[in-house]
C-alpha cells in the first residue's frame, strides 16, 4: 500500500527498506484480493450486490481521482460520464442485443471521446472554469436523456430496464455471485492499469502539472494536451464504472444520474483520499454504506446526519481515509519518513 507517489522520490535514498515495503505491499494486495474472491461464497445476494456497488463506485472515483487528485483539475460532473457509460451499455444491450461484457469497451470508448471533446476547450481554461463546465455537463445530461428525439434509444423518462446476466459456461454461481466476480475482475484490471499509468512517466507529468504548471511546461510537458488526455482517461474509467453500474442495478433512468451523483463521487474522492489509488475503495465504501448508517441514526433528518459525519471525517482525517491509514501505518512502524515535507499519498493538494 505504501508504494505510491510520494515514495518514488525516496527510492534512491533507501532502496533496501523500500524493497521490503514493496514486497510487503504485494503480499498485502494478494491477501486482499483473495479475501475479495472469498467474499463471493461467504456473503448473501444482497451483501454481494452492495460489494459490487462498492467496486463500481471505486472505479468511478478512481477515474475522478486521476483528473482531480493527480492532475489537480476539479471536476464536478463525473456523474455525467457515469451516466453516459450506463446508457451506452443499456442501449447496446437492449437495442443491439450485445452481450453485457461487450458493452464495457464501447462505454469506455464513447466516454473517452466525450471526455476528450469536453476537455479540449474546458481544460484550456482550467481551474474553476473546468469545475463549472463539468458541473454544467452534469446538470444538462439528465435533460438530454429525456429529450424526445433520443427517446427511442434512451427510453425517455421511463429509462431502460435490463436483464441480469447469468453465470457463463454453466458455472455453479448465482447471478449475484457472477456479477460480483465479473465486477471484481474489471476492478482489478482498472486499478492495475491506473496504478501503472500513475506510477510511470505520465503520472509524474500529471503531478508536475498539478504542483507547478510553469515548471512542468519548462520541462517539456505539453500542458493543454496532457490535461485533455488525462481528462479523457478519467472519463473512460468512470464510464466503465457506469456501464457496470447499469448491469448491476438493471435499470437506467435520468433520475438515477442527477447532479447529486457527481457530488457523491466527489465526496467519495475526498473522503477516501485525494491522489490515492487505494483511497478510491475507501471512498466507494463510504458512498455505499454511509447513507444507510445516517438513516439508521435518524429517519427524520438523514441528510443532516450525513453532513455531520462528513464534517467529522474531514476534521479527523483531512487527507482522507487512505491518508489517515498511511499515517497510522507510519506511526506503527515508528519512522516518520515523510517528515521532510514530501506529500503523503493522501496529500492535501
Amino acid at each position: 500500500m505504501i508504494t505510491k507517489p510520494g515514495l518514488l522520490a525516496q527510492t534512491a535514498r533507501i532502496p533496501e527498506r523500500n524493497a521490503i515495503v514493496w514486497r510487503g505491499a504485494i503480499v498485502f494486495k494478494l491477501i486482499g484480493l483473495a479475501a475479495a474472491i472469498a467474499a463471493t461464497f461467504v456473503f448473501s445476494g444482497y451483501h454481494l450486490f452492495q460489494l459490487t456497488m462498492v467496486i463500481i463506485y471505486a472505479i468511478a472515483i478512481l477515474g475522478l481521482n486521476i483528473v482531480t487528485g493527480y492532475s489537480g483539475q476539479i471536476s464536478l460532473g463525473h456523474g455525467a460520464f457515469y451516466a453516459i457509460g450506463a446508457y451506452v451499455s443499456a442501449i447496446l444491450m437492449t437495442q443491439y442485443n450485445l452481450p453485457y461484457w461487450a458493452t464495457l469497451p464501447a462505454a469506455a470508448l464513447v466516454c473517452a471521446i466525450v471526455g476528450f471533446a469536453i476537455g479540449l476547450p474546458a481544460l484550456r481554461l482550467g481551474g474553476l472554469y473546468l469545475a463549472l463546465t463539468t458541473f454544467a455537463l452534469a446538470i444538462t445530461l439528465p435533460q438530454i436523456l429525456k429529450y424526445r428525439a433520443f427517446e427511442d434509444w434512451t427510453g425517455g423518462v421511463q429509462g431502460i430496464v435490463l436483464a441480469k446476466p447469468d453465470a457463463p459456461f454453466g458455472l455453479p454461481l448465482s447471478a449475484d455471485q457472477w456479477l460480483y466476480l465479473f465486477s471484481l475482475a474489471v476492478g482489478v484490471v482498472a486499478f492495475v492499469l491506473a496504478r501503472n499509468l500513475l506510477a510511470g512517466r505520465i503520472g509524474r507529468a500529471m503531478r508536475a502539472v498539478r504542483d507547478h504548471p510553469i515548471a512542468a511546461e519548462a520541462m517539456g510537458v505539453h500542458l493543454a494536451l496532457l490535461k485533455t488526455k488525462t481528462f479523457a482517461v478519467s472519463a473512460l474509467f468512470t464510464g466503465v464504472a457506469g456501464a457496470l453500474g447499469a448491469i448491476a442495478v438493471q435499470y437506467v433512468a435520468p433520475d438515477s444520474f442527477s447532479v447529486f451523483l457527481s457530488i457523491v463521487l466527489f465526496v467519495g474522492l475526498v473522503v477516501g483520499g485525494v491522489a490515492s489509488v487505494a483511497g478510491a475503495v475507501f471512498g466507494a465504501a463510504f458512498v455505499v454504506y454511509m447513507p444507510n448508517v445516517a438513516e439508521k441514526i435518524s429517519k427524520a433528518a438523514p441528510d443532516a446526519i450525513y453532513g455531520i459525519i462528513l464534517i467529522a471525517i474531514l476534521f479527523f482525517a483531512p487527507s482522507g481515509v487512505a491518508g489517515a491509514l498511511a499515517r497510522i501505518a507510519e506511526r506503527v512502524r515508528g519512522k516518520d519518513r515523510f517528515k521532510d515535507g514530501i506529500p503523503l499519498q493522501g496529500g492535501t493538494r
Partner: protein, 412 residues
C-alpha cells in the same frame, strides 16, 4: 368486509381447526411457515422505501404516518394477533438505492411484501425484481398508470387514481360540457406528464390534434414556466389543462391570472393542494379552477365534523403529535395504511405471498373513510387500479366546491 371474505375466513378457520387435531399438525405448520416468508405467529414483516432524504423528502411524511398508524393497530392488538412490523427505509429518491434497499428488505430482513414504496422511477427500478421473486409490491405511492398492469406484473398494484384515469375524466368533461373547446396543455416532461397526455388522447382519439391547439412541456428542473404560459395564451386556447407539480402549479395560476387570460382551467390533483399551491398562488387568483379530487381535503372546513376525518384527527393527535395537520401526505398515508389493514384482515391466517396478492385483488366497495363519499376501493384479478373514481371540484376562493357526480373512467 364482504360476505365472500367472511365466508372464506370461517372456512379456513374450520380447516385450521381440523388440521390441528391431526397428528400432522406440526408438520403442516412448518410447511406453512416455509410458505409464508416474513410472517410468524406474532408478527408480519413489511418492507418500504421512502425518500426521507433528498429532493422528494417532503413525501417522507407518508412513511412516518404509516409507521404511526401501524403502531396504533398494534396497540389495538394487531391483526389476527399479529403485530405489523413496517421496516421503512430511506432511498433518497434514487433508483439505484431503491434497488439496494429493497434487496436488503427482501433478502436480509425477509419481509413478507413491499408496501407503498414511493416514486415512479424508484418503483420502476424494482418492478421486475419483485415480480421475478414473486414478492407483492402493494399499493405503490405513485400515480403512474403502469402499476395496474396485472397481465405482465401480477405482483404489483397501485392505489391512487392513476394520472391517466384522471386525465380521461377531464377529457370526458371537456367533450360533454365545453363545446368549442380549444385546449392548451402544459405538461411536465416525464412519466407523470405523459400519462396525462395519454389519458387525454384516450378520450379525444382522432380529434386530439384538432381539439388541442397547443401542448407545451417543461422540465421539473426549470426555474419558471412563464414563457410556456405566454405561448399557450397566444395560441388562442380557451381551455387550459395544467399538468404540473405543486411548485409550477402555483406559478401557472399566478401567471395565467396576471396575463389576464381567463380559460377554463383544469389543474391536476397533484397540484390541488390548498396549502402548497392555491395559497402560494393567491386564493383569489385561483377562483374558478377545476380539479379532480378523491381524498377529503384536510384543509377544507367542510370536513370539520366529518366522522372519518375526526378519526384521522384523533389518530394524528395521539400518534403523530406535532405533525402538520395541513399536510395531505398524512391523509394519503393513513388511507393506504387502512387499505392494507383490510387486505391483511381478509388474509386470515394464510399470509403467504400468493394469498396476500389474491386478497389485495379481492377488495369490494371498501370504504376508506378519508376518501370522498361515494368513492370506494375496488379490485379484482383483472383490475389492479384500486381507486378509479374522482369528483370534480371548483375553487371558489375559500374551498374546493365539489360539483356533479362521482366520475369514473376506464383505463386502457
Amino acid at each position: 368486509m364482504t360476505n365472500s371474505a367472511k365466508h372464506r375466513l370461517t372456512r379456513r378457520e374450520v380447516l385450521g381447526g381440523a388440521g390441528a387435531m391431526t397428528a400432522a399438525a406440526v408438520i403442516s405448520q412448518r410447511a406453512a411457515a416455509d410458505d409464508m416468508p416474513g410472517v410468524t405467529a406474532t408478527e408480519i414483516k413489511i418492507g418500504q422505501t421512502m425518500p426521507y432524504s433528498g429532493n422528494a423528502s417532503a413525501y417522507g411524511a407518508i412513511g412516518r404516518t404509516e409507521l404511526a398508524l401501524f403502531k396504533m393497530i398494534n396497540d389495538q392488538g394487531g391483526i389476527n394477533g399479529r403485530k405489523l412490523n413496517l421496516i421503512s427505509v430511506d432511498d433518497g429518491y434514487l433508483p439505484p438505492r431503491t434497488v439496494e434497499q429493497t434487496r436488503r428488505l427482501v433478502e436480509q430482513e425477509g419481509v413478507a411484501f413491499m408496501f407503498n414504496t414511493l416514486g415512479t422511477p424508484t418503483n420502476t427500478a424494482i418492478h421486475k425484481y419483485l415480480n421475478m421473486k414473486k414478492v407483492p409490491q402493494l399499493f405503490v405511492a405513485t400515480g403512474a398508470d403502469k402499476w395496474g398492469d396485472y397481465k405482465h406484473y401480477p405482483w404489483t398494484m397501485g392505489w391512487q387514481p392513476s394520472y391517466r384515469i384522471e386525465a380521461q375524466i377531464y377529457a370526458k368533461y371537456i367533450l360533454q360540457n365545453l363545446p368549442g373547446a380549444k385546449v392548451g396543455i402544459l405538461y411536465q416532461n416525464d412519466d407523470f406528464g405523459k400519462d396525462y397526455v395519454n389519458g387525454m388522447k384516450d378520450i379525444f382519439g382522432d380529434r386530439f390534434d384538432k381539439l388541442v391547439v397547443k401542448a407545451v412541456s417543461y422540465e421539473s428542473t426549470d426555474p419558471t414556466i412563464d414563457s410556456q404560459i405566454v405561448t399557450l395564451q397566444s395560441s388562442g386556447a380557451n381551455v387550459f389543462v395544467n399538468i404540473t407539480i405543486p411548485k409550477f402549479g402555483a406559478q401557472a395560476i399566478r401567471k395565467v391570472y396576471d396575463l389576464g387570460w381567463r380559460p377554463t382551467h383544469f389543474i391536476t390533483n397533484v397540484s390541488a393542494s390548498v396549502g402548497a399551491v392555491i395559497k402560494p398562488a393567491g386564493v383569489e387568483k385561483a377562483v374558478g379552477i377545476i380539479s379532480g379530487v378523491y381524498l377529503k381535503d384536510n384543509t377544507d372546513p367542510a370536513w370539520a365534523n366529518d366522522p372519518g376525518m375526526n378519526e384521522w384527527r384523533a389518530f394524528m393527535s395521539k400518534y403523530m403529535p406535532g405533525a402538520d395537520l395541513n399536510d395531505v401526505n398524512h391523509v394519503f398515508g393513513y388511507g393506504c395504511g387502512l387499505t392494507l389493514v383490510q387486505v391483511l384482515k381478509q388474509c386470515g391466517n394464510d399470509l403467504s405471498r400468493a394469498n396476500i396478492m389474491r386478497q389485495a385483488a379481492n377488495l369490494h366497495d371498501l370504504d376508506v373513510k378519508i376518501l370522498l363519499p361515494g368513492i370506494k376501493v375496488n379490485t379484482s384479478p383483472t383490475n389492479y387500479h384500486p381507486i378509479r373514481q374522482l369528483q370534480l371540484a371548483k375553487w371558489n376562493g375559500k374551498t374546493w366546491e365539489r360539483f356533479g357526480e362521482i366520475l369514473s373512467a376506464t383505463a386502457t
